[in-house]
Every structure is written in structure tokens, then in C-alpha cells.
């Protein structure tokens, strides 16, 4: 195990940021800490880095007891949301910083910096100042800077949070490829479930200072441990006593066995998909169904249409009859 966190607690005054966190992250993996803002995921990352100290508990990195080690001695690479670039230094000297601190020979530093700038596709920008780079380029520079010290773990705090959607998606793919190339144990914090599902080998869902679930993207999506995880990983709607994804509901315009009858109140088209709101007699909250534009057109859905709804075969659903307890997860049979 590359990172072992055990029994970690952290409070800020009355606010409990982390509560008895136990976590083991294997070497070489790309792990996402996923959760809503204020849920404690950044605090956890900063405690692993040594930028914050836990009130109790221990952190072991690559078998080395690190709980009392200052950040300088942990050999972790840390990447911040807002780049934290050294504004007065050129891109090359930003990347060289950690190596200069380690008093490496000049020739070695130059070779390493060249290699890293190539890796992050910034070799043409070596002599620029950070202010002359775009956000995405700055973040790649920050990543090269963190990788320069050959860290035992690479920690990224919302690394793409400050970038626009397109650059964000590019950088996300690029991070995945980079990780396949470099293989350093990587943990990144995100509140974007799509980002976590797409990039990570393993996802740790953190909420209100606790770990809700740990698993692969597929496990989390298909077998959410509870309502929260289910809701956080994607949109959820209620049909009878089931909570399930809006695209997992089948719609027919004639009565079907075990189907719930309802009336379409709204059909909103967003690009290729149509979001249909259906009011159901015994339910306060209307059901949301998502389907493709083609499908909706074939069914001739419009406000006022009578429809019958049934959970699709194999849909992931949790029963919502016991909202406070951790509900069981069961695949729905046809």
C-alpha cells in the first residue's frame, strides 16, 4: 500500500472536517477523492501532504511513518487548483525549483527539466513567465514542477477546477495518459463525478467528513452503497419506492404489466436528449425520465400525454422506503 491513512480526525473549532478516516491506497493507482464542497476531501489530501496536521490518527506513505514529518520531508508532489506558480520565475525555473533546492548538479537539472517540459508539451515555452501561459498550460507546468522531485505520491487538489470545460476535458484525458506513462501513485480531489468516473482507477466518496464508499468507477455506479453515493454519481429520480437513474425508466404509451400510469407535464429538449417530467397520482414529486430525441419523437410525447412507466431491466436502483438507514441496493428484475 502506498498511502495508509488510519483513524484520522480533524476539527476546526466546532466544525468536524474529518471523522475517523481509514483508507489504504495501493501503489501506482490513480485515485479520486470525490465529494461535495466542504465534505473534507481537500482537508484529507492536505493531511496526506503534510500541509495540515490531523488532530489524531496516522499517515504512512510508502511504508514510512509520515504523521510527524513536515511537508518538506514527505517527498510528495502537490498541485493546487490555482496553479501556485512562482510568478517571477520562468517556466523552466519553476520546474527546476525542487531540484535546485536539492542541490542537484546543473547539467542534471537541465536534462530533467527538458525531459519534463517535453512530457507536459511545454518545451516551446521554457523561457516564458507563468503570466504568459494559459490556465491549462500553467497547470501542466505545475504538474511538471511537482513531478520533477520524483515524488513517492502525487497529490492534486481540484487540478482542473479553474479551467473552462473544454480545456478541462482535454487535460483530464491527458492526465489519464500521463499516469499510464509515469505510474506514480496519484490522488486527486474533485467534486465532478464525471471527471472521477472517467479518469480514476478507484474512487473514494467523501461526504461530511466520512468515507461513504470506496470502489472502482463501475462498482460505485452499479452498486452504490447508499442513497448519497447514488445521488452524487448521477441524477436520481423516484418511481414508487425505487430511486433510480432517469434514463433507466422505460416509457410506453399503452398499459404494460407492473407499470405506473402518469401524465407528461413537460418535455424539455436539451440537444440530443429529452427530459420528460411525468406526474404520477400517488407521488408528490414528479418522475423525471431522460430519453433520446429519436425515442421521444417515436413515442409522440408532449405535455398531457398519458404514459406508463416501468424500471428498465437491470437498472441500478435503491429502495427509498428507509431514507435514513443505508438502503440495500438491488438490481431490478424485469
Amino acid at each position: 500500500m502506498s498511502i495508509d491513512v488510519s483513524g484520522v480526525n480533524k476539527r476546526y473549532g466546532d466544525f468536524v472536517a474529518l471523522q475517523d478516516i481509514n483508507l489504504s491506497l495501493p501503489t501506482g493507482q490513480l485515485t479520486a477523492l470525490l465529494g461535495p464542497s466542504g465534505g473534507g476531501k481537500t482537508t484529507l489530501l492536505r493531511i496526506i501532504a503534510g500541509l495540515e496536521t490531523a488532530d489524531s490518527g496516522s499517515v504512512v506513505i510508502e511504508g514510512v511513518e509520515a504523521t510527524r514529518l513536515p511537508v518538506q520531508k514527505r517527498n510528495v508532489g502537490f498541485v493546487f487548483q490555482h496553479y501556485a506558480a512562482f510568478k517571477h520565475l520562468s517556466v523552466a525555473r519553476n520546474v527546476a525549483f525542487g531540484l535546485e533546492i536539492r542541490k542537484k548538479p546543473k547539467a542534471e537539472i537541465r536534462a530533467k527539466v527538458d525531459e519534463l517540459l517535453q512530457l507536459v508539451h511545454l518545451d516551446a515555452f521554457a523561457d516564458r513567465l507563468p503570466s504568459q501561459l494559459s490556465g491549462g498550460q500553467r497547470q501542466r507546468m505545475a504538474l511538471a514542477r511537482a513531478l520533477a522531485i520524483e515524488p513517492s505520491v502525487l497529490l492534486l487538489d481540484e487540478p482542473f477546477g479553474a479551467l473552462d470545460a473544454k480545456v478541462r476535458k482535454e487535460l483530464r484525458d491527458w492526465l489519464r495518459r500521463l499516469h499510464d506513462e509515469v505510474h506514480v501513485t496519484t490522488v486527486f480531489v474533485t467534486h465532478d463525478q464525471e471527471e472521477a468516473l472517467e479518469v480514476a482507477d478507484e474512487i473514494v466518496v467523501v461526504n461530511e467528513g466520512r468515507v461513504e464508499q470506496v470502489g472502482s468507477p463501475d462498482q460505485l455506479y452499479d452498486e452504490p452503497a447508499n442513497d448519497f453515493v447514488m445521488g452524487f454519481l448521477g441524477e436520481v429520480t423516484t418511481l414508487g419506492d425505487l430511486r433510480l437513474r432517469p434514463h433507466d425508466i422505460e416509457v410506453t404509451t399503452s398499459p404494460a404489466p407492473a407499470a405506473t400510469q402518469g401524465t407528461v407535464t413537460r418535455a424539455l429538449r436539451v440537444g440530443f436528449e429529452v427530459r420528460v417530467t411525468v406526474s404520477v397520482p400517488d407521488q408528490d414529486v414528479p418522475v423525471t425520465v431522460v430519453m433520446t430525441r429519436t425515442h421521444a419523437r417515436a413515442l409522440r410525447l408532449e405535455a398531457g400525454s398519458a404514459v406508463w412507466l416501468v424500471a428498465a431491466e437491470g437498472a441500478t436502483a435503491v429502495t427509498s422506503s428507509r431514507p435514513s438507514a443505508r438502503p440495500s441496493v438491488e438490481p431490478v428484475a424485469g
Binding site: G50, L51, V71, Q72, F78, G98
Partner: protein, 279 residues
Amino acid sequence: MTVALEARPGRSRPSLVGHNLTMASGIGLGVSMLWFSLLVLIPLAAVMVTASSGGWAEFWRSITNDQTAAAIRLTVTAAAVVTLANIVTGTAIAWVLVRDRFPGKGLLELVIDIPFALPTIVAGLVLLSLYGNDSPLGLHLANTEWSIYLAFLFVTLPFVVRMVQPVLEELDLEVEEAAASLGASRATIFRRVVLPSLAPAIAAGAALSFARAVGEYGSLVLLSGNLPFESEVTSVRILSAIENDNQAAATSIAAVLLVISLLVIVALDVLQRRVARRG
């Protein structure tokens, strides 16, 4: 602005080649230049002209007069030493005010500005009663050159603090954390990451502090006793030259101070650029 101008028919203005000022910025520039000329450039030129009216020999004789030379030496040395002291203590005070939390911080914030707000002659009186011949502290600095250092230190204290403080407040703590995660010790972080960001502010504060010290009069005139070759500064020397109806000598000294201040400002700027780029 440009659009509005073009929309008005029959009012086409030939555009000045190589300039792209709109009317508003043209007026702005004109007013600034006029104001600056009236208040700064013309008086400075007048000083230089008067200083040179007696010719180079006369000028040289005025400023190499033993008593005047001693006054210039004392003033410039004391101003330089005090400015160096301010660079260190001013930065430290700003650091404490921004980064630390302690009881009485609000009060300290207020007290820092007192040397600014106090009329200098009142400051002089305060210094006299504390360090004069009846000193309750047993420190008798009256009529010594140390009284000059003391007065300079007192009146220039806020400059570096007030220039550095806002810059320090804006500094991104994450940058320092990034440096720490790369292995930099606290001292290294300060030297290589924080100081380059503060350098322009420190230099600006130092320039103000030096200029203020060179021209200081009110706060020191009571305590120093204005003893020639001992505690006489240039501002006092200029005043006595004027009182003796020797305006040429007065402006000669003034011209020397002007040149020295200019050199110091340029030197500080060069130094600042070097520090800011070094890291």
C-alpha cells in the same frame, strides 16, 4: 469614445501619426503634464538654474565649504543607515501585522501611522522631552549626531510598513505551500519566493523613507541643537543660507540633495528588479 467622435459629422480630426490617444486620454495626459510641470518640473528646474547662476566654481565652493560638506555627509549617511534599518524592521513589522494574530494588533495598526499623522514639530517636542537634557530615561542625545538618527527613524517608520503590508496581504499562501512541498525550508521560501514579490514594495518604501529623511527638519531641529560639524543637517544649513541672503548657496545644497535622492531612487529600482527576477 472613438465611435462617438466618428459619429459626429463634419468633425474629423487628422490623427497624429504614431499616436492612438482618444480625446479623453489626450486631455488626461495634458492635464497630468501641466500639473506635474507646474508643481514639480518648473520648481526643480528653477532650483537647478539658480544653483548654476554663479557658475560651476561658485557652485563647487558652496558645497565643498567644510561646514556644508559635513552637513551633507551627516544627512546622507544618517538617511542611508535609517533607510536600511527601515527595510529590515519595516518588512518585519508588516509581516507581523499580516501573518500573525495577537492581542493589541488593532492598536499597533493605528500606532504605526502616528509618525505620519503627527506634525513634525510635535514629534520634535516628544523626542526632546524623552531624550533631551531632562530625559526621564537617562538618555541624553540632545546636541549629538545620534539625535538625527533618532528623528529620522521616528518619522520614516511607516513608509516601508505601509508599502509592504498590502502586497503581503495579497500574496498567495499556496505559492509558499508549493515551495514547501518541493522541499524548501522556511528561510528559503522567504528568500526565493516571498522576497522577490515584496521587492518592489520594499524599494518604493525605502525610496520614500530616504527622501523624507533627507529633507527632514521639524522633528530634529529641537533635539539636535544644530551644532555645526556635529548635528547640523542640510535642511538647517539651507535655512541659514537663506537667512544670510545667500540664495545661491542654498540652491546649490538643494541641487546636491536632489541629485543624490534621484540616484538613490534609481539604485533602489535597479536593485529591486534584480531581486524580483532572481528567486
